[in-house]
Structure formats: C-alpha cells, structure tokens
Amino acid sequence: MADGVTDKTPWWLNQRLRGFFAQALVIAVTAGFLAFLAYNTQVNMQARGITNSLDFFSQEAGFGIIQSLIPYSPTSTYAQAFLVGLTNTLFISAVGIVLATLLGLLVGIARLSSNWLVSRLAGAYVEIFRNTPLLLQIFFFYFAVMQALPAVRQSLDVGGLMFVNNRGVYLPRPVPEPAFWAVVGALFIAIAASLWLARWARRRQEATGQPFPVFWSGAALVIVLPLVVYFIVGQPLRWSVPHLAGFNFRGGMVAIPEFTALLLALTIYTAASIAEIVRSGIQAVSHGQTEAALSLGLPQWRVLQLVVLPQALRVIIPPMTSQYLNLTKNSSLATAVGYPDLVSVFAGTTLNQTGQAVVIIGITMGVYLTISLSISLLMNLYNKRVRLVER
C-alpha cells in the first residue's frame, strides 16, 4: 500500500528530486554570480583603461629584496621575486610552527604543574599573549626589542664568532666542501638504521616484554656515525666568520631583525593558544588513567609519554591545525616591519610597480589557499593515524 502512495506522489513532491533541484539551483546561482563578477570586472577594467595580463612575470623586477633563500638581484624577473616572497613566507611559517608547537607544549604542560609558581607563570603567559593584538606584539619585538640592540660598531661580540646588533644576529656560516656529502649520506644511513632499530625494539617488546632504550641508542647512532665519517674524510667543512667591513658585517650568515621579530611574535602569540589546546587535551584524559599508570609504578614523565599524550593528541590535533593555519596567515603581517614575505614582495611592491591588482591579489589568495589546504591535508593524515583505533 505504501508503495502505491509513493507511486501517486507527483514528481515535484518527490524528496530526492526536490533535493537534487534545490542543490542544482544553488550551484547554478553561485556559478552565475561568479561568472557575472568575472565578466563585469573585465568590462569595468577595460572601460577604465586598466590593462590586465600575466606578461609582467617575465619582466625585470628592478627592486632589491633584503632576504632571499634563492638567488635574486634587482635584475631578476617578477616571477623570481614572487618565488622569493613565497619561500620567505613558507620559511617563517615552517620555523614558526615548529617553535610554537614546542613552546606551546611546554607551557601547556607547565600550566598543569603541581608547582604553584610554574603553573601561575604559565597561566600569566597565556593570558598576556593571547589577549593582546598580534600586530602590537610584532611592533614591540621589532621597535622596542630588536632596534634597541646596540649599533653595528658597538655590536655584542660573542667569542668573536657571533655578533648581535640592531641589524641582525650574525653567525658563522658553514661552507661544505664536496667530501661533506659523505657526512650527509652517513646521517641518512644513521636515521634509517634507527628507524629500523625502533621497529625491531617494538616487535621484541611486544613479543617478549623486554624494553630497549630506543631513544638513546637512536640518538647515539645519529650523532656518532656522521661524526666518525666527518673525521675520516678529513673534516670537509670550513666556516665563514662574520667580520665588520665598511657599513655592515660581511660573511657568515645573518638573521635580520625583521625576521627575528616576526618569528618571535608569531611563535609566542600562537604558542599561547597552543598551550591552552594542550592543557585542555591533557585534561580531557580521565584522571583515573593517570592514577592507574602511576600505580603501576611508571615514573611521571613515562605516564605523560605513554598514557596521557597519546590519548590527548586525539583531542589536540584538530584545533592545532587551525592554529597552524592562523600562524601561516598571520605571517602576512610581515610588511608592518619590512620582512619580505609574499604579501610584502608580491601583493605589495610587485602590485604597485605593475598595477596588476586583480591578477596579483587573485594569485596571492590562491597561494594562501593552497598552503592552508596542504597543512590541513597533512594534519588530517596525521590525525587519522593517532585517532582511536577500535580493536
């Protein structure tokens, strides 16, 4: 009987068909709107005599960039300037994510410490840095901290090797000779060996219950093997030490204050949020688990490492992803202090010199979208691995 009713339902009352049409309509309207935007932009730009093309990419950029991870000079093309900005963005984001994670983990755990002073200090840190604007913190680190460092000629001199002044932190730069590749090779072999060792140790522990000091033996392997090779092939590494020449230091390598200030601010600001995520993640693991582990006689840090953190990670990772995305996007505040990131070099200087606003902002948004989606993807993959596996 029920079937009969369905048969007589007119097609426009059919749930599935209606759902399908509703969705098709939404998609069509959205697509139509986007097409209208694109078309109207084109027409308006033409009416206003604004040229619009990608040709500028192969033209000479003609401006200098203070920090570049790839070869670049004012005679390079705009395409190369774009790559410089992109790599600078990726670089500061990657370093910032690693540092913010470490610091956030530390502070988050410290907040739960039974030591009153430690937990209060961690609490104060979180409240101060989470509740003040990031831009203000960047300005603080740049103008109040970095630029308050001594001038070039009065640099802080650390053993004649490292110099600190308001133009940057200068360090000796390693200059590898060809034979150095043997050392790099040894490093990779050592890493592979310790991975194999870890697997072997886990299997053995599962089979026999006997633990093996994987961490220490792995660390020893990774440090000792390359070192031995290094001395065998005759120490194929020279050092370029910074020295004062003319206006500035020459040689060595330098972390410019624009980079350092931005990195500090991004790290410290994001770590405050990460600390909260870590704290809530740990607290989400029921206390009974900790007590049970402690009553087995495991030392406190092993309890954290073996029982609490693996479970906390499940809660921690999803919100952590959005912090990583925030850090990456916040790195575009770079222009405020002159760090040459993608927005500064490309959506700033390049846009201004070429006038290609629409194209350049479009590409820049596309790049940030790609970076963000890639981070999300990686984090989701990792999340799948640590997720509760029902056995």
């Binding site: 935007l37 694109a38 109207n40 932009t41 027409v43 308006n44 730009m45 009416a47 206003r48 005599g49 604004i50 040229t51 003609g62 401006f63 200098g64 960039i65 203070i66 004012p74 005679t75 831009l135 103008f143 630029q147 308050a148 001038a151 070039v152 308001n166 133009r167 020449a245 003319g246 206006f247 500035n248 020459r250 410019i256 204050p257 624009e258 575009s332 505040l333 770079a334 222009t335 405020a336 202090v337 002159g338 040459p340 927005v343 500064s344 959506a347 700033g348 200087t349 846009l351 201004n352 010199q353 070429t354 006038g355 606003a357 629409v358 902002i361 820049t364």
Partner: protein, 340 residues
C-alpha cells in the same frame, strides 16, 4: 594592518567588479551631488599633507584639493580627505573611493598609461635624494657601497635606488616599510645607514627625527620626480577641471594676483586678469563650473607661489627654495598655458 590592506584591496576589486559601467563626465556631477570632493592625500608628510594642531589638513598637496573645491563649490572647505599610503593610493583612485589623488605622486609612464589613470600636471618638481647620519662621515652618495637603506614600499624610490646602485657598481641592502613612520623610526634607531626618498620629503622627515641635526641630506639627486595630481582617465571633463585648477594657480602668480589683492584685481584693465577672474569670457562654463572659479581659488587658497611659500617655502619650517618650482619667468620651470 596587512589584513586590513588585503581587505581594502579586495574591497577595491570587489567594487570594480560590482560597479556599473562608469560613464565619462560623471565625476563632476557626482561631486556636485554629494557636495564635497573626496581627495586622497598622504597619511602625514609635513608641508605636503598633514594635520595641523587645530585638526585641519594643510600642505601643498592639500591645497590642490581645496582649490578644486573652491572652483566647484566656491568653498575651499568642501573637501573630505582619505589618507593613503604609497601602496594603497592607485587602487583607491581606480576603484572610485576618491575623486582625485593629490599625494606626492611621481608622474611615470607606467602609471600614466597602464593603470587607467592620468596625471593632470606637476605641482612640485622633485628628485630622489639621500639622508644619512652625520656620524658616518659620508659626504657623497658614491661612498654608500655596502650600506643599508630604509625605503618605503610601492614608491619609485625602490626602483631608482636599485638602478643607481647597479649603474655605480655598488652593493646595498634595502629594508622596505609600509609607512613613512616605520621608515623614519627604523632610520632613527640605526637599522639603516641611509633613508632615501624624494628630496623634499627628506627635509620633512628630518624634522621628525629625535635629533634633526644628527642627519644630513647628501648633494646627489638621482632621479626626476615630477609630483602631481592624478585622476581616472575615463572622465576627460574632470581631468580638464583638475588640470586647469592647477594652471589657474600658476597663472595667478604670474599675473601678480594674490589672495590679498584679488578683490581689487577684479577691476584691473589687464585682459589676462579679467579672463582669469571671470570678469570677461566664459571660462568657468568650459569646465562645468561658475565663471568666478579662479577668483574663488585665489581668494580662498592663494596663488601657486603663496601656497608654496606657506607650506614648504620660506614661511614654513621646511624652508625649501623655489628652485625648479619657480615660474619660468623667475628661472624655474613651472609654466601654465594661457587662459583664453
């Protein structure tokens, strides 16, 4: 701040995509309808455009805005100001956020041809110079090999510096900031050895240093920086109006018509003066405003020379000499076609 800029740029693009097709000749109508001129100016450059202690905008560039308002409304105060950084200025004009850009902007071929914008003239002939700390003991730009420069993003300065250093086989580093505030502060704090910009601006920026006497402007001028007002290219009537407002101020100086004597000058028998002040002819009508347009400009804003001296010249803290900016009759190159 960066986010805000991106938002602003996206908003500008959005408005480009949403705006109905613009028709030529509409700017003046729109300005008259809303009752004021929306003028894009510098965020704060003493002598050119800055806010004084009474909260009023003043400066050579601001006077251009006021003169336009005087011509259109007979009231120089009918201006709304939009402070813009170097990076924001062109998008603001392209998107219609402002009616005219009067912000120490260099007339270059790219800007004049590919942005959909047009320069209406030159209200200050400038050139790029260098400001250095006296303690460096440098007295020529040729000694700047290996130096670090503070510059502002989105300017001709960025390109000129690279050109100059390359053609003189010198190495350099450039720290690029968004605002002149950050640029000046970084120079003051010793982040860089040299601040480079249009020379007129160096004098203005120098007055803002903790100790102005600690820095000197080097003698070299490495580029041509003709600064002037900019409008959208698709409105020839508005372009003509802004262009002739500038010419009127220079013609007034040439004819000796000042804000003090303009009322008497109306009785002058000099036909040039009669045409300028609307006593004879229909010149205001030709640009869509009343015939006493230039009278109002001179009475309320002054002629070009008065504006110059008051804002950047001998009556101002900057004390810049007329130099290239004197009238052609006085050994300079400021020149205006005749009103006839």
């Amino acid at each position: 701040m960066k986010i805000i800029k991106i938002l602003a740029a996206s908003a500008a693009i959005a408005s480009l995509s949403m705006a109905a097709n613009a028709h030529a000749g509409k700017t003046l109508d729109a300005v008259k309808a809303k009752g004021y001129v929306q003028c894009g100016v510098n965020t704060g450059l003493p002598g050119f455009s800055s806010v004084n202690s009474q909260g009023k905008w003043t400066g050579l560039d601001v006077d251009v805005c006021r003169a336009i308002a005087a011509a259109v409304f007979g009231d120089a105060s009918k201006v709304h100001y939009t402070p813009l950084t170097a990076k924001e200025r062109f998008t603001a004009l392209q998107s219609g956020e402002i009616d005219v850009l009067s912000r120490n902007t260099t007339w270059t071929m790219t800007r004049d041809t590919s942005l959909g914008l047009s320069f209406t003239g030159v209200n200050y002939y400038d050139g790029q110079g260098f400001l250095v700390k006296k303690s460096l003991g440098v007295n020529s730009a040729k000694q700047l090999n290996g130096a670090t420069f503070c510059i502002q993003a989105g300017t001709t300065t960025e390109l000129n510096l690279a050109d100059y250093m390359r053609s003189h086989h010198m190495k350099y580093q450039a720290v690029t900031f968004d605002t002149s505030d950050a640029t000046a502060k970084a120079f003051d704090n010793g982040r860089c050895d040299v601040l480079t910009s249009d020379q007129s601006q160096l004098y203005a920026l120098r007055t803002q240093l903790k100790n102005p006497a600690s820095a000197v402007v080097l003698p070299e001028v490495i580029s041509k920086e003709p600064l002037g007002p900019v409008v959208r290219s698709n409105d020839i009537e508005w372009f003509n109006l802004v262009k002739w407002v500038g010419f009127a101020m220079k013609n007034a100086e040439w004819l000796g018509v000042t804000s003090k004597n303009v009322a008497e000058m109306k009785k002058s028998s000099n036909p040039n003066i009669q045409r300028l002040l609307g006593v004879s002819g229909d010149f205001g009508k030709m640009i869509g405003v009343s015939n006493d347009w230039a009278y109002n400009i001179v009475a309320q804003v002054g002629n070009y020379g008065e504006s110059f001296e008051r804002n950047v010249g001998m009556d101002s803290p900057l004390k810049i000499k007329r130099g290239l900016n004197a009238l052609w009759t006085q050994g300079g190159i400021q020149y205006a076609p005749p009103i006839r």
